[in-house]
């Protein structure tokens, strides 16, 4: 049944960005729900799409070179909850930062509250002490935010954060950051290929159907479709070609292949279609600072 879930997930991944909610969702208790994992989460649309994309690729590039994961959450207001509590809930749920290292930073901006918080995972509390975090908010964010230039303030803050984290001398990144990073190094092969599995499964399924209708031509069609979708979603033509080739080769063995992928998928555990996967290592235990503008 796993392939069913995978192909459903694929459908959702394509449909979801179009149907994005207008503002951050709230639970029955009136508190904000933890938004879905993303490098830049901005359901209220406080950032222009181009700015958002620029921030995302900036964060992806930093993760690729230095490994540390930074995420930005923009909301209208965290009220009635203090921003610290909301940020902690998000940090606790996302656990961004590499496993075994735990180097994550979460930036939360509550636009209407005119409050921001930089939440620092424990491993980086030395590189970014509370005082420094507070100064970043005051000196880098606040001046830009005061004139509603959120992208500018965030960019300046990120540049400063990058410098602080780089100086900490953690293990370098593996070059693994799918979205925005078009040069995949050999090292990230395993995880990239693992994230191809759902596409391949969907492709083989489709291929088996088309093959019955059109013969070898159908298999080619399915393979081509997978190439296009993967290249689009993961912004890598190379990965697309790999996935397409695998689909083409595997389609005639559709049945046995299902069994194999069930085993593979079961072991792989979780895949990311947007390209951002939390390392799951960040322990957010209250480090960082909040500030107003």
């Amino acid at each position: 049944m796993r392939w069913w879930i995978a192909s459903l997930a694929l459908l959702f991944a394509i449909a979801l960005p179009a149907a994005r909610a207008a503002d951050a969702a709230r639970g029955a208790d009136g508190l904000l729900l933890v938004p879905p994992l993303a490098r830049v989460s901005d359901p209220g649309g406080f950032l222009a799409p181009a700015d958002r994309a620029a921030l995302e690729s900036k964060l992806a590039a930093f993760e690729a070179t230095h490994g540390s994961q930074i995420a930005i959450v923009m909301v209208a207001s965290t009220k009635p909850e203090p921003i610290e509590d909301f940020a902690h809930r998000v940090g606790d749920a996302w656990k961004i930062g590499r496993r075994g290292i735990g180097d994550g930073v979460l930036i939360v901006v509550a636009v209407q509250d005119r409050t921001a918080r930089i939440d620092v995972a424990r491993r980086l509390e030395g590189a970014i002490p509370d005082v420094t975090a507070r100064r970043l908010i005051r000196d880098q964010m606040a001046p830009h935010f005061a004139s509603k230039d959120y992208a500018g303030g965030l960019t300046a803050t990120l540049d400063a954060l990058f410098g602080l984290i780089a100086a900490e001398g953690l293990a370098p990144g593996t070059g693994d950051a799918a979205r925005g990073d078009r040069q995949h190094s050999a090292a990230d092969g395993e995880s990239a290929i693992r994230s191809l599995i759902p596409f391949i499964i969907a492709g083989v399924l489709l291929g088996a159907l088309l093959r019955r209708l059109f013969g070898v031509l159908g298999t080619l069609l399915a393979a081509g479709g997978v190439v296009a979708i993967v290249a689009f979603v993961m912004s890598s033509l190379l990965l697309g070609a790999v996935a397409g080739l695998v689909v083409f080769v595997l389609t005639p063995f559709g049945g046995p292949m299902m069994m194999a992928t069930q085993v593979l998928g079961g072991r792989g555990g979780g895949f990311s279609l947007g390209g951002f996967r939390s390392g799951g290592g960040g322990d957010f235990s209250g480090g960082g600072a909040s500030g107003n503008w």
Partner: protein, 199 residues
């Protein structure tokens, strides 16, 4: 005889691993670790308070009552001897919690009052101390919640079958829990009204 003894060893081992003994150990250690973390955050706050008090003292006509309250609350909290038994004694734990809660509320009042002094607002040293103190308060709130969760998990675990039998045999008792009230709520900054008295 030899074989019989071995057989009994085997039974004993399988009973011990199947009776939740290991599970009790794991959860007991988790409680201890989160307690230690909470204590170290309380300690950090106690260490920071003299610095912030000193930087405020330089401010002429700073509300003395607020200052005295912080100093007294800190003295009272640090006078409580933190022994390992403290966490297992409901009455002592209650007293300890109350003393620490008072420090929280006195500190947040001090920080709220300091907003009214422009020279403190522009004093970089004070602002840095403030960031550290706020950060520590936030860490305390989180460490406290994690401790509550760890104790809850432990208490629920040792009450279930078959662990409750094991717990009785080995003398593992239920641990007292912090009161549920939200410390952050207690520490809510009071509304400060100078009524134009400060010139």
């Amino acid at each position: 005889m030899q074989i019989l003894r071995r057989y009994w060893m085997l039974v004993l081992v399988s009973v011990l691993t199947g009776c939740g003994y290991n599970g009790i150990q794991t959860r007991d250690q988790a409680v201890k670790a989160s307690w230690a973390e909470l204590l170290s955050q309380y300690q950090r706050r106690a260490d920071l308070i003299p610095n912030i008090v000193n930087s405020v003292k330089g401010e002429t006509n700073f509300e003395q009552e607020t200052l005295v309250r912080v100093i007294d609350a800190r003295a009272k909290a640090t006078s409580i001897q933190v022994t390992p038994e403290l966490a297992n004694d409901p009455a002592a734990l209650q007293k300890f919690q109350q003393a620490q809660g008072e420090v929280s509320s006195a500190v947040s009042r001090l920080l709220a009052v300091s907003e009214n002094y422009p020279s403190l607002k522009s004093n970089q040293g004070f602002q840095d101390l403030r960031a550290e103190l706020e950060g520590t308060e936030n860490r305390i709130a989180i460490a406290r919640n994690r401790y509550i969760k760890a104790v809850e998990e432990y208490n629920v675990f040792i009450r279930q079958l078959p662990q409750n039998l094991t717990a009785t045999v080995f003398g593992y008792k239920e641990k007292p829990q912090f009161a549920v009230e939200n410390e952050r709520e207690m520490a809510k900054p009071p509304t400060v009204d100078f009524g134009g008295a400060k010139k």
